[in-house]
Symmetry: C2
Subunit: 124 residues, 2 copies
DNA sequence: GTCGTATGTCTTGTCACGCAAGATACCTTG
DNA sequence: CAAGGTATCTTGCGTGACAAGACATACGAC
């Protein structure tokens, strides 16, 4: 099993990098919907839930979380156990849930438009 | 009818701007597939074919076309009539057709992964 | 005739953001 | 104690969409 620490080099020539633009916020908010999670957990969760189709490195994720926090879309809670590495837990706020909904809608509209445009000839 | 000259301000807070990243090349190559077209024509064609769902300004398009040309994905032909504004026509090259296919595949994989991830609860 | 508007091309500068790479620290297992 | 997994954060780079502006030709209205 590949650990997140073994940083997977993301292909340069690929458009995958650009596709993450704009979808990453949506993805993170979506992953937080079922309940709070900490950064490292989100990275592994995303890789697992998409069978590696969508991946992200921690160097990418942490800035996103910071942005979401500043925007008021997520709340933060530190868990500092006596023994063990401290974890920073993120939870959706009401505004975050609203944003999640808005982004989901926007994404659907875009994906639909793309599908219609690229649509394999089948007219109408 | 809205003319392309009346530049539609693209919403700043929207993710639409980011979503175009990576898809724009694919979109342009796709629009060139049926046959050659000139820049201005592509702008209007995209707006029309997607009922405005996907739009692009000429300031965005021309750099894309230049990139595609440099990459060898499109060929160029000037049409300079005695009377009238000169037009620069673009056509897909073989490499461009190949790229179009590759990008389409990549896009589909990404869109599918997103759909699976966001999938409305229906588990498994 | 000239003013506005549509057609058509191109360039400059700005800004956002994904990412590689590196730093730091703790814990476990051999 | 040395590796490697867990966990966080920061710096710097490159890419690319876009607004704004410039420029030129054509055509209509006034």
């Amino acid at each position: 099993m590949e650990s997140p620490t073994a940083r997977t080099e993301i292909r340069k020539g690929s458009i995958a990098r650009e596709l993450r633009r704009g979808t990453l916020e949506l993805i993170v908010l979506h992953l937080l919907e079922p309940g709070e999670a900490y950064g490292y957990e989100i990275v592994t969760k995303l890789t697992r839930e998409t069978q590696g189709a969508l991946e992200v490195t921690d160097g990418t994720l942490y800035p996103v979380l910071y942005r979401l926090e500043r925007a008021g879309f997520v709340g933060v809670r530190w868990d500092t156990p006596e023994r063990g590495v401290p974890r920073k837990y993120y939870q959706l706020t009401d505004a975050g849930r609203q944003e999640l909904h808005a982004l989901t809608t926007e994404w659907s509209a875009f994906a639909d438009a793309m599908a219609r445009l690229l649509g394999t000839g089948h007219p109408r």
